[in-house]
């Protein structure tokens, strides 16, 4: 037993490096210390702003165009952020004007990429362009015919079903801002759906979550999505029937490189 003041409390503080959870915060009586009240408040402010920050679709579209992508802008049937939050059904349907704009671009496409604000426009502003820059070379290597990239406002994941069907794409990959956590206001999600059509549920999709610098790195996430896309075309399905075994492929790939370097 040490004679130092509060050795137990001090030692508990050492645990904090073992988890991202908010432990060993200290206390002022029963309450949080001011430092932690403010730290929590700022994290909540970032998460709230991620939900409500206006989606800068123009900027996202122009930066995607710099990657030599043709971009089409669409809107869901939800007219405002409040309506989007209250009516998830409207966020899953295209506005009538947007539906017409896509129908005239129908073609013979393998993959439609949809960029959707979802519940975190911050996630799109920060992560979608660098992620796309990692993904595109991998798709090019597969020789896929890409539909014009669709940037959607007030959009839920299932909006991609209608977009993919309207463009005539064999599969759709929706890159969407995920519900922001206090410690992750900028999480990008990628949802892949084979043979997209209205009325599908999440059981028909594969999901890669938490794509952000502090989470799943762009390069790793792009490899996973590219792997899933290749497997989806090989097996003509996505969803519960397609397990993400890209980590095995990555390990095999690494082992192969190692063998070559030897």
């Amino acid at each position: 037993m040490s004679e130092e003041p509060n050795p137990g409390v001090r030692q508990l503080a050492d645990l904090a490096r073992l988890t991202p959870a908010r432990i060993a915060l200290g206390r002022s009586g029963a309450s949080l210390p001011t430092r932690e009240v403010l730290r929590f408040g700022m994290a909540h402010a970032q998460a709230r702003d991620a939900v409500h920050a206006p989606f800068d679709a123009d900027d996202v579209a122009s930066r995607l165009a710099e990657l030599r992508l043709e971009v089409i802008r669409v809107e869901s049937a939800a007219c405002s952020r409040e309506e989007y939050l209250r009516r998830p059904d409207l966020g899953r349907r295209l506005s009538s004007g947007s539906r017409e704009a896509l129908t005239v671009r129908r073609g013979d496409f393998d993959l439609s990429i949809v960029v959707a604000d979802g519940l975190s426009s911050t996630a799109i502003h920060q992560n979608v362009v660098p992620f796309a820059a990692m993904l595109l070379p991998l798709l090019a290597r597969q020789g896929l015919r890409l539909a014009p990239v669709v940037v959607g406002r007030e959009a839920r994941v299932a909006l991609g079903d209608e977009i993919g069907a309207a463009l005539g794409a064999r599969a759709v990959a929706v890159l969407i801002g995920e519900r922001p956590g206090l410690s992750s206001p900028d999480s990008l999600g990628a949802y892949l759906t084979f043979a997209p059509r209205a009325g599908l549920t999440d059981a028909a999709r594969n999901c890669i979550s938490n794509i952000r610098p502090g989470g799943l790195a762009y390069e790793h996430a792009a490899f996973k999505l590219s792997w899933l896309i290749a497997e989806a075309f090989r097996r003509s399905l996505t969803g519960v029937g397609l397990k993400d075994e890209s980590d095995l492929a990555l390990e095999a790939d690494a082992a192969g490189k190692l063998a070559i370097s030897r």
Partner: protein, 462 residues
């Protein structure tokens, strides 16, 4: 049968009991999303006025969800205790509220009538009650359950320690658990939401908790919140399962979307009890619920979400649970839009559960796309503490880094204990004192037991 009422100078017609119940419900986004909510404030009040005159007996012969189609309705009606119902059998819904608020409805009397109350009766009367009524009556209800300690005693509040980690890392989970124990949390359960659904990984987490509880001879229980079929399989493999967890809802179709039915719940309870791991009781089930679950599964039968939530408690009641937790604000703003709606729903859920005889706790929580913040959680915590809630969550810093939502923290439970003088489960309170985590008054000691608890971390000596 249609219900007509002339009120406020206008005549209102409600096509059936479902519509009457839905339109009498305090406004919430989930009922609006379902197209069931009252179209105006006057229509809502007219529905309440009509509902107040409805005999309670009506619910015995007019099912909101058809008896033939739904095993939850069959459970409710087939197990109804007519003798327990007798003292209130002649009352209308409005008279039932008056009776509940009166001195005649004592703790003992309420416990006696609970098996005679159907969830539809509880939901109906709650729609006529103000927040203060929901608190006052719930406070009189007492539901005591036992496994390795005694939960639900008057003047006591338990905490589920929730040490989730984004990748189920054992050291990370232990770190959060030890931190929480050092704040005196964990008497309701140490309960982990696993990121993985692999049986092997869940078995490892079960053994992690089992060893921790055994090492310190802790009078509490562990739980991995995984699907009930996984828990049954793990029991079959000899894994140390204390509590059997499952999310449940108020219709057969919604439960089916969860991959369960009543027979699986029965099987889970029997599997849990077969292990005889409880020391002071055999309440082995831990259920979670939440308004909006049925609608989100397209399984609401045109019934309002609060009534369906009360029906979920009738499902829970049949399996003598240790813990029932309404995860009130988790589902999102399309069901409960803002702090006001979440607070109201939390009080309704707690009241309905307690009235039915269910050991209600509440995950006082919200997501970042709801119009709510920690101030709203403080308000609901203070109200539910006053109402005598059996347990709340203890999440490190209120921020669940695995499930991405905000709940109540280790500090929040200290706050409510200090303000309301609430104690922990008696067996756990005594253990905390033995461990030098708390002093004889239940306040944290200076060391918070840290040096002793830290011995549980791998690579550390005691």
């Amino acid at each position: 049968m249609a219900y007509r009422v002339a009120a406020g100078g206008t005549s209102h017609v409600f096509a059936d009991l479902r519509e009457l119940m839905a339109k009498a419900t305090p406004l919430r986004s989930g009922d609006q999303l379902a197209g069931l909510a009252a179209g105006s404030m006057q229509e809502m009040m007219a529905a309440r006025i009509a509902l107040a005159d409805l005999p309670l007996r009506t619910f015995m012969h007019e099912a909101l969800v058809p008896y033939e189609e739904d095993e939850v309705t069959r459970l409710i009606l087939d197990t109804h205790d007519a003798a327990a119902f007798a003292p209130i059998a002649t009352l209308t819904v409005g008279e039932f509220r008056d009776w509940l608020c009166s001195d005649a409805a004592t703790t003992e009397v309420l416990a006696g009538v609970a098996p005679g109350i159907t969830p539809e009766m509880a939901a109906a009367v709650s729609k006529l009650m103000r927040n203060q009524d929901l608190i006052l009556v719930a406070r009189k209800c007492r539901v005591v359950t036992r496994f390795r300690n005694t939960l639900g005693l008057p003047g006591r509040l338990a905490v589920r320690l929730q040490p989730n980690h984004p990748t189920d890392d054992a050291a990370g989970i232990l770190a959060s658990t030890i931190d929480g124990l050092s704040y005196g949390c964990g008497d309701a359960v140490i309960g982990i939401n696993p990121a993985s659904d692999s049986l092997g990984r869940i078995g490892e987490l079960l053994r992690l908790l089992d060893e921790l509880i055994a090492r310190f001879d802790m009078p509490t229980q562990g739980c991995i919140l995984t699907h009930i079929t996984s828990s049954i399989a793990l029991i079959g493999q000899g894994a140390p399962v204390d509590l059997v967890f499952q999310s449940v809802a108020g219709t057969q179709a919604a439960n089916s979307s969860f991959g369960i039915d009543l027979s699986i719940l029965q099987e889970g309870m029997e599997a849990g009890r077969s292990q005889k791991r409880g020391t002071v009781g055999d309440n082995v089930m831990y259920f979670e619920t939440g308004q909006g679950a049925a609608l989100s599964a397209y399984a609401h039968h045109g019934v309002d979400q609060q009534t369906l939530e009360a029906r979920a408690y009738a499902v829970c009641r049949a399996y003598e649970p240790l813990l029932v937790n309404t995860v009130v604000g988790f589902i999102g703003p399309e069901y409960l839009y803002d702090g006001k709606q979440i607070i109201r729903a939390g009080l309704e859920d707690h009241f309905c559960g307690k009235l039915l005889g269910v050991p209600m706790g509440c995950d006082i929580c919200y997501t970042n796309h709801a119009e709510a913040d920690q101030d709203d959680m403080d308000t609901l915590l203070t109200l539910l503490g006053t109402a005598g809630v059996n347990f709340i969550m203890g999440v490190p810093g209120a921020d669940d880094v695995m499930l991405n939502y905000q709940s109540t923290s280790f500090h929040d439970q200290l706050y409510i204990r200090e303000v309301l003088g609430l104690k922990r489960a008696p067996e756990f309170e005594a253990w905390l004192q033995r461990m030098d985590i708390t002093d004889v008054s239940g306040r944290l000691s200076a060391k918070q037991g840290g040096h002793v608890l830290l011995a549980a971390m791998p690579g550390r000596a005691a």
